[in-house]
Amino acid sequence: MTTPRLELRGITKIYPTVIANEDVNLKVYPGEIHAVLGENGAGKSTLMKIIYGVTKPDRGQVFWEGHQVQVTRPAEARRLGVGMVFQHFSLFETLTVAQNIALGVDEPFDLDGLSKRIAEVSHRYGLPLDPQRLVHSLSVGERQRVEIVRCLLQEPRLLIMDEPTSVLTPQAVRKLFETLRRLAEEGCSILYISHKLEEIRELCHNATVMRGGKVTADADPRKETASSLARMMIGRELPVCEHSPAEEGGTVRLEISGLTRASDDPFGTSLKDIRLEVKGGEIIGIAGISGNGQQELLLALSGEKPLGKQDCAVIRIDGVDAGHLNAAARRDLGLTFVPEERLGRGAVPPMSLAENSLLTGHRDGMVRFGLINESKVNAFAEQCVRDFDVRCGGIQAAAKSLSGGNLQKFIVGREILQKPKVLIAAQPTWGVDVGAAAAIRQELIDLRNAGLAVLVISEELEELFEICDRIVVIAEGRLSPVTTAADTSMEEIGLWMSGLFPGSEKLEHRNA
């Protein structure tokens, strides 16, 4: 039997508040695509950081091709032949592709020679990339290619991919898989970290499933079903949302008519003539790859960056001109909003849950004569914790002491308990474990059934198809036509996400 390229024995890593890894064993063979599957917080990232030399384990050994090694720095890991593509890219937007890659090269080089090698490698693995282009002009998928090519230039024997598909369209995912398969055929080992079951079943030869820092199963994903993998991952059945057809003829609660706005950020996305109507009793989902104007659109819709007075009619909430209003005034009209960042935006990290209820819930009679009515605040917070199953050390627990999923449940609960007419939710289940994510999706569906207008912005297509009545795509600051979720497919939406939708400049350009 061949020696494993990488073997971990009894890896344990303890942080002050949590055991991140406990007695983890893992073997990866040459040419194997090995999945590490687990929910957020299961300890996958810590394990990868240990392999890549970012973190030191408290106990346990690492063997590289049969020899015990102590990897204390990423540079040592790279020298062994380990490459890692992080979920969050570390690229300088004002530099070219070649310059960015040059920054990570340890040995001397000349930029022209490097550019040539970049072109070669990117061609060989089907990752088309122009070394001379500036990074800010690249799409997210292309940026990921830069990171992958950066790793491939060092001819790695083990490539770690951390949640690589969360930023890609379905088409781009397919291309990435081809690249990874070719690499594996050439003998490179791949550690593929993900919580997406279908992808793992399609791509990987082996899977190590983690839960709560421990390995709960080793499996051949090709022989498992999605639900059996889910059982290993979360310890029970994958919850399914109940979704009935939308009622027809709700009144328009949120109306965007011709929202055009240049971004303040030189590398941001300008919004171009956005038009959308969200009716009571429906969920509209906005799909799109991040960085295509979602941030800008949300800031404009929430009122965190209100429009000028002359554009007050561009955004109407429940029939009232709201474009010029700030976030508080829009909330007075019945809008609530679940932002993407929970700590620091949706909640004040060091403040208690009770105090965080007051942040947006104060309209509910919590303030009288300018003074805070503490018993009302506490009652609200307690109801929120109870109704939305927020696991915490009581309502006096600081927001930052909660796990991401529980804090998200609290924020969603706080926004729902205010009985809004319109709810906007950005990445409602991002970083949330599978069970909590299903609960949040069900809450959104229940709100719709109660006649609310719900707008969800998400990068997870599966999620949008699960809960939305209608879907629209944002690409390069423009909205595609709205389609009924039942009448479209992931493939079509994926194509639209790359900017090719009916009426888009790109498509007309191509047809001309």
Binding site: G10, Q61, E304, P339, R345, G346, M351, G370, I372
Partner: protein
Amino acid sequence: MIRIEPRPQPSRLMSYLSPLIAVALTLITGIIFSGLVGLNPLDAFHAFFIAPIDDLYGLGELGVKAAPLMLIAVGLAIGFRSNVWNIGAEGQLTVGAIVGGGLALLFYEMEGFWILPIMVVGGAVGGMLWASIPAFLKTRFNTNEILVSLMLNYVAILLLSYLVHDPWRDPDGFNFPESRLFSDSAMLPIILEDTRLHLGMVFALVVVALGWVFVRKSFVGYQMQVAGLADSAALYAGFRRRRMVWIGLLVGGAAAGIAGLCEVAGPIGQLLPSVSPGYGYAAIIVAFVGRLHPVGILLASLLMSLLYLGGESAQMDLGLPSAITGVFQGVLLFYLLAADLFINFRLHVDKPKMGVSTEKVAE
């Protein structure tokens, strides 16, 4: 090896302990330094910290100096909690003294219980007026309030100097740069016999109580705290940042203005070229030693007041230079900032890891 590593949670205990540690270290430093310059450390300690307050008059003096510090620091803390950095309390104090004192000079010939309240309001308005300049510039042009408020201190002091040198100079004052003495109706009554402790102390305590209600109970206080802790969350909730800048600066200005008025209508009794021994700056230290909390500020202002008295006493008894007070203030702030590091960080002693791994291999 000893490393400094972040704590998983900021230490509550340490945030209360830190001022006490700073005070203790300041004392130790003081004792060491007095030894170095050839003094008997015990004498120096006695002259600095015991002698000034070993009788009723001394305790009264403690209150006389603590009152303005308390007033100003509570006002400043309200701004500081929302990251509005008003460094201009000295100037706001001065303009408060100018406006309030100017009213005293205006009503010089008159008598009546109504004069004093008008002066107090005048002092507050004067301080607010001065604080409104950085507030306006910040909300309108996004200027830095630290710089603007700090620079305005010098303008205010020069303005006072001009007034007492020329237009408001006492006509019977032998050309000394000082105003007339205020009439009895324009003076704050003494609240403790045989001392100089005046009504200003009552104002200060009332402001501490109001400050506590504002910080703990009021919604505006909550909003300002949110803005201080997480700006994006304040924006998300729709709290108006500009309003908070205005409130933060105006409250600080009003408190400093009242403190200035209390100085000229209390212990000083007239307008002089200088009406404050740096209370506006010392109050910044008081606010932080007091953890930006009104009750903490109450205690910290007593400490800072003692440093002022001790400095004076050390000048007289030990012949030390007047800079001694400033040195002690600086040392105290230095230690406080150093000790505050351990609210969010802790020392970590690395244990040798070799023992563990060899054991494992041996198995």
